[in-house]
Structure formats: structure tokens, C-alpha cells
Amino acid sequence: MTSVPTVLLVDDETAITDNLAPFLQRAGFGVVVAGDGDQALARIADTAPDLVVLDVLMPGRDGRSVLRAVRHGGGTVPIILLTQVGESVERAMALEEGADDYLNKPFDPHELVARIRAVLRRGGAAAGPALAAAHRLRSGPLVLDRTTQRVFRDDVELVLTPRATALLAYLMTHPGEVVSRERLLEQVWGWTFHSSTRTVDTRVAELRRAVEAGAGEPFVETVPGEGYRFARPVEAG
């Protein structure tokens, strides 16, 4: 990316956009602001942003409807949803409908910047169909069918708990990205509490036992002091 990437920030709360816009600018992004869903669609059409940060709960056309309109129209601009509801059902729906990532309010603005950078790095439009929306994820011999929630290695089905499958899906849709235990808990389990990060280690261990048995190079890497990373390239389909 040679020029400054442009972020379209969509939220009906001016207290949020007024403070977040300068923060994002200082982080090195060009920022365009929209105050509602219809404005957001208009700005996406006329400014062609590199990424959209989209609030879900807005009066009138809400964020989910904007997301749907963009994806139905064939738009591939990466979208990060700002969700109000932390429920796992909502979360799954957001990803299924083609959001690239999401953050629960109230979030750390630095975390938003980190996610924007990660999503932009993943390539968004240039990489073809986004991994987040793909029904099948493939990494070498490993295939995850997200519609049926089944995992195969060399065409042999692996037995995984639903949680381990969800964990694998999250890691595979964020290849190369270091994901902290806290974030995995929030995204895969739907809850974060102090003293619960060991849960992540237990599930990652389970995942590794099932997925990596005799596979040579690891799929999931531990990054000491930081978290986990899906270490191999992933493609959709």
C-alpha cells in the first residue's frame, strides 16, 4: 500500500466519531465519517474506502443492513463491525454475512487500530473472496468445511469438539496473525474472565493433538507471551 489507507468510520454517536476520527488519523489513516447507514452506503460508493468500521446498532438503516447491501452488491471492501451484542449467535451471524472482524463496545482504540491493520494486511479485496466469508477453508492437507462444521486431513475426517472446530475456524480465518488468549476467548467462547485463559491452552492442545499428529510442520504456533498463530497459508474453497 503506497498511499495512506482510507477508513470509513460509521457511527451515529458523534461523541465516538469526534474522538475516534482524530485517533485513527494519528495512527496513519485517512478518515471519512458517516453518521448513519444510508450515508455509509453513499460514502462507500463515492470515496471507495480501503476499510469500513461499522457500528451495528444505528437508527434507520443499521450496520447489519449496510453490510448485507454491500456484500449483495458484490462489494468486497473489508468491514469491521462494532457490535453491541456480545452473543455468540450474533457473532456467528456477523461473520457469516461477510464481516471481516468485529469488536465489542466499549473497546480499546489501540485494539481497533491493530484490527484495522491486520485486516488490511490480509489483503481484503485483492485476495479474492475473503476468508471470513468462505464456506471452505483449506491449508495444505487440512480442510475445514464451515457449513457442516467438519474437519478433514488428507480427506480423513477428524473428530473435534465443536469448540475446537470454532477455534480452528477462527485461527484459519486469521492466518499469520498473532491472536491473544483473551481475544480468542472473546471471539470463540464469547466470554472473558481473568483466570480463564488456561481454557484456551487446553483447547489448543486438543486441536493440535487432533490436527497435527505426524503432520510435520505445525499448523498452530505458540507465540510465547503473546498467544497463538495459524502458521501456514490458508485459502478459500
Binding site: E13, A15, I16, D18, N19, L20, P22, F23, R26, L82, Q84, G86, E87, S88, V89, N104, K105, P106, F107, D108, P109, H110, T161, P162, R163, W189, G190, W191, T192, F193, S195, S196, R198, T199, T202, R203
Partner: protein, 302 residues
Amino acid sequence: MRRVLVAVLALLPLAAGAVLAGLGRAGRLPADRWFLSALPGDWALAVGAAVSLVAVVGVGVAALRDRTWRHRLRARGAQAAQDRRLLLSRLDHELKNPLTAMRAATANVAAGADPAQAAAVGTIEEQVLRLSRLTTDLRKIADIESARLDRRPVDLAELVEEMVDVARDLPGADERELVLDLPRAPWPLPPVPGDADLLSLAVANLLDNALKYTPPGGRVEVRAREAAGAVVLEVADTGRGIAAEELPQVWEEMYRSPSARSLPGSGLGLPLVRAVVERHGGRVQADSRVGHGTLFRLVLPV
């Protein structure tokens, strides 16, 4: 027991009547016919039967009323809990946008050079973070109440052993005696259908609590046993204890005992435990004596 007594009392007149009637037939009562030319024994039987009938009807009506009231009381309790949850979720909802704006705002001014200003901004940041955590934790409890469970047979013994191991690494744990007692004979604990991650969270919270409220040199016991189609898990401590009048409230969101305010905590640990256990169809109990310690009991259906 009470029910049997009431039934016996209600049927006593009938029985007395029957005895008298029997005595009459045996010729032990005067044989002169009374009013409507019935024998005294038969009268006694009739009066006994009538009184018993009235008593039985009375007991039935009372039981029915009792049941209705209990029903209403339970419905009222459930409604109150529902209302409280709704209020909390609305509060959480309304706090989110202001907190998001405040976090963005403080992130913007954090670069200031003046040390006094930097300290003030630091304080605001910390406190906003604290509020953010509180709303997040509140929402998580609501999530647990409604989320889909990843239900499969869980070896509770293994899970508890692991959580006790984790707890031994907590700061200050080595100054307290932590004892684990799990049955091996005649058979180990049966598997509990449930979400292993959520159950570990519940156990970890109880252990954290027990260690936090038990002074150095104290003792924390973790034990489990099988009883009547359930696994009963107990975490007992020799901590400061909870006053009887506060005991029911410890399971409520954000309740903090006045005597525990000196210790850090959000008042969300035990409500979380309760949410997890009730989501598994189980129940929670607490027993405590001030100055002696506290026992938390989780009953999880097998």
C-alpha cells in the same frame, strides 16, 4: 411427615366411628335404637365419616391454596430476577457508547507532556477501563444464561484436579492448605453432561474466592461425591465467613459484602458460578459461619 399427620388427623373421626360401630355390632354398646331407629354405633360411624369428609375437603382446599400461593410466589421471584436482568442489560447497553467515546477521548489526550495532566488522564483511563470491564463481565453473565452449551460428558474429577493445580500457582496459595478429596471407591465420579470450559470457569472462581477470603495458615478443602443422580462439589474454607443475612445475596450480581469491600473484586464471581451451574440444570448453595468459614456447594445433575 406433616402431610401424613394431617391425613391421619383427618381420617381419625372416621376410624373412631368405625370402631364404635364395630363395638355396637359386637353388642358392647346399648342396643336401643336412637333417632331414625339407627343404632348408636351406626350414628357414631356416620358422624365420624361426616367429620372426616369435611376434614379431607378442608385439607384438600388448603393444599390447593398453598400450591397456588407457592406458584405465585415463585412466578413473582422469577419475574423479579427477569426484571433485574433486563435492567442490567439496558444499563450495560446504555453505558457502552459513552464508555467507547471516553476511551477514544482519553487515548487522544494521553500524549500530553504536563505530569499533573498525565496523572489525571491516567486516572481517567484506569477508571474508564474498570467501568468497561464491569459492563463486559455483566454482559458475559447474561451470555452464559442464553448461550448454546457445548454439552458432552465431562470428567469432573479430572477438571477439578486441573483447576486445583492452577489454583496452587495463584499468589499466596502456598500459605494456605489446599486439600482435594475425590472419591475412588467404590467407584469414581460419574461423568456430568456439560460444557467443560464453563464448568472449569465456575470451579476456578470458587477456588479464587476461597483462597482470597481465607487468611494465611487457613485451609481450603475441595471435595466431590455422587448423591441421588447428581454430583455434589464442595469448596470449603476457614475464611472470615459470611453473615447469615447476607448469604442469599452473595449470588446476586454486583453484591459486595460491606466487610469484603477492602478486598478487590467485582461482585460478579459467584453470580457467574450460579449462572453456569443453573445453565447445567443444577443448583448452588452456600453455608457459612462468621469467623469460621464458608462452604459453597454445587449440585450438578448426572
